[in-house]
Symmetry: C3
Subunit: 460 residues, 3 copies
C-alpha cells in the first residue's frame, strides 16, 4: 500500500474521488466510537508496555495466524495458544509469508498500523523484517506506546470490551475512575448454552455468586443480578454468540423442566437447542426490563478443527461461517418484544446473503431491529461496499449500528475505522454523483455514521 | 436528488455516462408497459379526484410507512389500515422523518414524483412540508390530476391490475370500453391455500358462483370457468403469491381425498403444503390449456408481526423475504409442462441469491421459464444492477420479463420505469465500453427491454 | 464485440484501464495451463481434421445449445445427442438466433474464437451465416486447424482431460510419447454413486479389471489400483461431481455392510447418501496416500428434464445449480485429513454465496483447502469479478486454484483463459489505483495467477 496516498480506498474515477475526499475530510479526524470489541480491559487498566512486536501484532490475532497456517506455517511457530516461540522468529515468519496477505483486509490493517502507529513505511519483506522488528521494539519501550497513551492518541472516545458475567469488572472501574470511557459488555454464552463444556459447573458458580436457588427462576434472577452489576459498571449492551438466532417462547413450567434436564446432563440435542433458543428470548425480555442493547452474532461454526482446538484452544482461526436464517428464528422474540419501545436488537451476520433478504427488511419495519455493521470476514473494503449496496435501498442509513471493529487487535482499531470511513465516503460520493443525494445530505450522513448513529443504536 | 439532473442514476465515468445517455435517449420517451401491478381498476374506472396528498402518497404505500414505523412513528399516525389521521399531519410526519429515506428506493421515487408529476423541486423538510402539501392539494383538485388523465400523461400503454377470481371485472369492462388497456390479472391465492382464513367459505362461494359440485373436479372446473371470465375481460396472466414455489403432481384420487380433507379442516400441515403445491401445478396445467401466462411471486413471510396484522391488516409493511429454492420445488411442474409450447412461467424472487444459481440457469434451458424483473425489496437502482450482472452472462437479455413495477402507488409508476431504464442504460453502456456489445446492439436491446421483451413474455 | 479492441473486458475508467493494460501485458502471452477440462484425449491423439463448423462449435457445446433451446429451437435441429442434422442448417440456426447470446459468456467466447482462431471479424447474422460457415470450413480442411496444431498454436502447456477409471489411457500415452503434456484425470463418479444406473455392473467390471474379490476391501483395492494406473499415465488429480459435498467417516464393518446393501439394490435413499459420502472420504484417504489432488464439483442437479435426458442423453443443457453447503458436509474429511501435509482439496461451486461465507474461510485456515476458480455458470466476466471480490479479502490470491476452463469446447480454451486474465488484470488494477497493492505486487500476482498458483495447487 502506498504509504502516503491520501486517496487510498477511495473511488478512482476523478470526479467521484474528489467528492469522496471531501466527505472523508468531514469524518477522518472525528473520535472513534467502538461499542463492541475484544480488547482486554486488564491491558488498559494495568497499562504495562507491550512485550514485543510478535505478541502485540501476531500471536493473538487469529485473522493473521489463520492465513499463515493455511500457507503452511504451524501455529506453534507463531506462538499461538501460549506456545512458546521466539518473537523475532515469529516476526520473520510473517515477513517471509507476507505475500499471502496481498489484497486481504488483514494485510491492509497491518500495513496501516506500521505506517500510522509506528511511522514505518518500509515494505515488509524477509530482508526488512529485522529492521522493522527493531523499530517497533524500540517504540514499544517508550511511554508513548503504552496502552493508555495509544488509547488517547487513537482518539477513542468510547471503547467497549466483552466480558464474562462473573467478572468483578474492577479493571473497568479503575479505568473509569481514571477518566477513560471503557465499558464492559455482558457476554453470557457459557451460561446459556448447555453444549458448552463445564455448563453445570458454570451454572453452579453463577447461582452461588448471587445466592440464588437451583431453580429456573433462581437462574434467571442470578442472570438479572449480574446484568445489574454490569450496568452499574457502565455496560450498555449484552452480546450473544450463537450458532443460530433461533428463539422459542416456552411456558414457565416447561422452561423449568428443561432447565433441570440440561443441568443433569439428560438433555437431548433438541432439548439443548430449545434451551438455548428460549434463553435468547429471555435475554431479550431482560433487555426490555433493564434497557441494555442486545447484540447477536450468529452463524459461526466454532472450533471446526478439533485437533487445533485441543492443541491451541478456541479463537485460533478455525471458526467458519455457515448459512444463517433470521426471519423464522427471530419471530418468537419479535412477536413478544419487536414493537417494544426502547428495545434495541442489533443483528450481525457472516452470511452476507441475509443483508438484502432478511436484515434490511426486518430493520426497515421493526423499530427495535438495527442492522449490524459488516462483521469478521466481511469487515473489509469490498465487503463493506457490498453491505452498503445491499441494505441502503431498503433501510437507508439510519437503521444501522455504525461501524463496529469487534477486534482483539488493539492497534488495528484506527485502521479498521478509517477503512470504514473511506469506503462509506466512496459509497456516498457515488450517490451524490448519480444525483441520489445532495452533497449536503451526504456530508450529514457521513458524520452521522460515525457519531449519532452508533450513539443512538448503543444508547451511548 | 438534484431536480434537473438529466444524468441521474447513470454511470459517473464520463465516457460511460455519454454512452448511457445516448441509450437512455432511445427509451426514455417510449410508452410504459406495466404487465403486473396493484393499482385498483375501480380508481381508474370511477376517475374521481384523489382526496389528498396523504391518502394518495403515504397511507397506502407500505414501502413508505414501514420505514417510518421502523423510525418510531406509529402506523396510526400515518393513517394506515383505514385509521383516521389528519392528512396534513401525516404529511408533516413524513417531512420530519424524511432523512430516513436518504438513499432508499422509496426516497428516489417520491422525490421524482414530486418533481415530475407535480413540478415541485423544493426539498422536503419540516419547514417546507405545508407549502408542498398545499401545492400538491391544489393540483389534485384539477382535472389534469384525475386518475385517467394521469394514466394518459404517464404514457401507460398497458396496465395490468391484480384481481380476485370472483370479481365481476365490470371496472375493467368500463375502462376498456373507454379505450384504456387496463387488464385484470387472475390471483387465486385464497382459493388455493388451505391456510388462508375463511378457506372453506371461499371455496363454497367459488363453487356456487359457477354452479359446480363440491368435488375436486367441480372445484377445478370452477377455477377454469373463472379464468375464462378473466380472459374474456382481457386478462393475459395469472399470479401466485406462495411461500414456497413447491409443486407436486398427485393422482386424481389422492387429490380428491386431499381436497375433502382440507375443506373439512382435517388437514395436517403436510396436507396443506401438498394441496398448495398440487394446486400450483394445476394452475400450470390450466395455463397450458388456456394460454394465460403464469407468474409466481414466492418467498415472502406475510404478516410477520401478528400485532400489526391484527390492528392494521395485511400489506402493512411486515412481510419479510425468506430463502427460496426453485430447482427442486418446480421440478414436478417443469417435468410435466416445462417443454410445452406456449407455456410461460415467470419467476420472481426476493432472494437474490437465486438469480445466478437457479433462475437464470432454468430460464437458459426451459423455453417456458422467464426471468422475472427485480421485485419488491430489489426494484431499486443498485439491486437492478446486481440483477443484470447476475443473470445476463448465463441467460442474456431475451429470457426476461421486462421491468415490472408491481406497485399500488399509482403515481410512482413512471419513476419506477424510468429508474429501470436508467440502470439498464448504464449496464448496457458498460458492456459497450468494454467491447462486449456494439452500440447498435445495445440500442436495440435497450428498446427491446421496454417493448418487445415484455410483450413477448406476457403475450401482449 | 469490437473485433480489435485491445481493451475489451478491461475497466473503462482511463487510469484503471491503463494499469490493467500494463498488467495484462505481463500475462497475455504466457502459456495456458489447463489442469481441468473435458476435451477428449482421443481427438488429440487421432488428430483428424474437425468435420465441420457445426459439430466443432455447436452440437456438443451445451452452453450454446441450451440457450438456443430456451429460445425455442429444438435440440434435434442442433444435432445434439448424435441426432442427425445438416451442419450448415445448424450454423444458420445459430446465426438466426445470435441475439439471444448478446451479453452472455458463450457469446463472447464464440465471437473471440471466430476472430482469434479463424480470423473472422464479420458480425454473425442470418445474412453472413453462410459466408462465415464457408470460411470456417475452408480453414478446418487445412493442417493448421487440426487438433494438435491448434493445441500448439494456443500455447497450451498442460491440458488435463477427464476420464473413466477403466480407460486404458492409451491415447494419453500416445500424446505423451509425441511430447504433448496431456494428462488424464481420474473421475470415478459412476463407481461411487449407487444412484447411477448400472451401478452393480460397473462395480463388477471394476473388480474384474483388477481381479479383486467382491468385498468392500476388494472394491477399495481396485479403486487404488486404477488410481495407480492413472498416476502411471501422468494424472495429477481426481475429480468428483457430487450433488452434495457431504462426507461421512464409517467404521469398516458398517462400510462393508453398506457396500453389500447398495450392490444388491437393497439400499434406502439414506444408505445411498451415506455410501456416497463415505466414498468421498475414502477418495480423500487415497489422495493422502498417493498424492493425487482432489477436486470436488458439487451442487448441480443433473438431468433436470427427464424427457430431454432420455432423448438426448446427459450433458445436454439441463443441469441446474442448487444451494451447496460445505462447512458441515466436509467436516468429517477435514477432521481426518484437513491438516495432512501434501493433501490438496480444491472446492468448486456454482452457488456463489459460498465464496465469502464458506470456501474462502475454509481455505484461509486449512492448508489442504484450495479455492476453485469460478466454474460453469460463473466463469464469465462479471461473475469472475464478483468471485475475486468475494474471496480475496479473506484468503488473498495464493489460496486459489488458478483459472480452470473446464470445457469440452476445445476452441474456446484460449478465449476463456484470456477472459480470466483480463478480468483479473482489471481487479488488480483497481487495487493498485486504490493504494491496496503496489504495481510491482500486482504484476507479480498477475503472473503467479496463471503460472505458479495453478502449478502449486495441481502439483504440476
Amino acid at each position: 500500500m502506498n504509504a502516503a496516498d491520501p486517496h487510498r480506498l477511495l473511488p478512482t474515477e476523478p470526479h467521484l474521488q474528489h467528492i469522496a475526499a471531501e466527505l472523508l475530510g468531514a469524518t477522518e479526524q472525528l473520535p472513534i466510537i467502538s461499542p463492541h470489541g475484544h480488547v482486554p480491559a486488564e491491558m488498559l487498566a494495568e497499562d504495562r508496555p507491550f512485550p514485543n512486536p510478535a505478541e502485540l501484532l501476531v500471536s493473538g490475532d487469529h485473522y493473521l495466524t489463520r492465513l499463515l497456517h493455511a500457507g503452511g506455517v504451524s501455529l506453534e511457530r507463531l506462538g499461538v495458544g501460549g506456545h512458546a516461540a521466539d518473537p523475532r522468529e515469529v516476526w520473520r515468519t510473517v515477513a517471509a509469508h507476507w505475500t499471502l496477505f496481498a489484497g486481504t483486509a488483514t494485510g491492509y490493517w497491518l500495513t496501516e498500523e506500521l505506517r500510522e502507529v509506528f511511522g514505518i513505511t518500509t515494505d515488509l519483506t524477509a530482508d526488512s523484517a529485522d529492521e522493522i522488528y527493531d523499530q517497533i521494539s524500540g517504540r514499544l519501550s517508550t511511554d508513548a506506546f503504552r496502552p493508555r497513551a495509544l488509547l488517547r492518541q487513537f482518539g477513542i472516545d468510547v471503547l467497549a470490551t466483552t466480558d464474562d458475567p462473573l467478572d468483578d469488572l474492577h479493571h473497568h472501574r479503575t479505568l473509569q475512575d481514571a477518566g477513560y470511557r471503557v465499558l464492559p459488555t455482558f457476554r453470557p454464552d457459557r451460561f446459556l448454552d448447555p453444549g458448552t463444556s463445564g455448563f453445570a459447573d458454570a451454572i453452579a458458580q453463577l447461582l452461588a455468586a448471587e445466592a440464588q436457588p437451583g431453580t429456573f427462576t433462581g437462574y434467571l434472577e442470578a442472570l438479572r443480578a449480574r446484568r445489574r452489576h454490569f450496568i452499574d459498571h457502565g455496560a450498555v449492551s449484552t452480546d450473544h454468540g450463537v450458532l443460530t438466532p433461533d428463539t422459542i417462547d416456552l411456558d414457565p413450567a416447561e422452561a423449568d423442566a428443561l432447565f433441570h434436564r440440561v443441568l443433569r446432563g439428560a438433555a437431548t440435542a433438541d432439548d439443548a437447542h430449545r434451551f438455548r433458543a428460549h434463553m435468547l428470548l429471555q435475554m431479550a425480555a431482560m433487555s426490555v426490563e433493564d434497557g441494555m442493547v442486545m447484540t447477536v452474532h450468529p452463524g459461526v461454526f466454532r472450533g471446526h478443527s478439533t485437533a487445533t482446538l485441543q492443541r491451541f484452544g478456541p479463537d485460533t482461526g478455525h471458526d467458519i461461517p455457515v448459512t444463517t436464517r433470521f426471519v423464522d428464528g427471530l419471530r418468537p422474540v419479535l412477536e413478544r418484544f419487536g414493537l417494544e419501545p426502547g428495545f434495541h436488537l442489533i443483528l450481525f451476520t457472516v452470511d452476507e446473503t441475509t443483508y438484502s433478504r432478511e436484515i434490511a427488511p426486518l430493520a426497515g419495519f421493526y423499530p427495535s431491529v438495527y442492522i449490524g455493521a459488516p462483521w469478521w470476514f466481511l469487515d473489509a473494503p469490498d465487503a463493506i461496499a457490498r453491505f452498503r449496496s445491499a441494505v441502503t435501498e431498503t433501510a437507508g442509513f439510519y437503521r444501522g449500528s455504525g461501524f463496529i471493529d469487534d477486534t482483539r487487535a488493539f492497534l488495528s482499531i484506527p485502521a479498521r475505522h478509517n477503512t470504514a470511513r473511506r469506503v462509506d465516503a466512496g459509497f456516498l460520493a457515488r450517490l451524490v454523483a448519480q444525483g441520489r443525494l445532495t452533497l449536503d445530505q451526504a456530508q450529514r450522513i457521513a458524520v452521522d455514521l460515525v457519531d449519532t448513529i452508533p450513539r443512538k443504536a448503543f444508547k451511548l
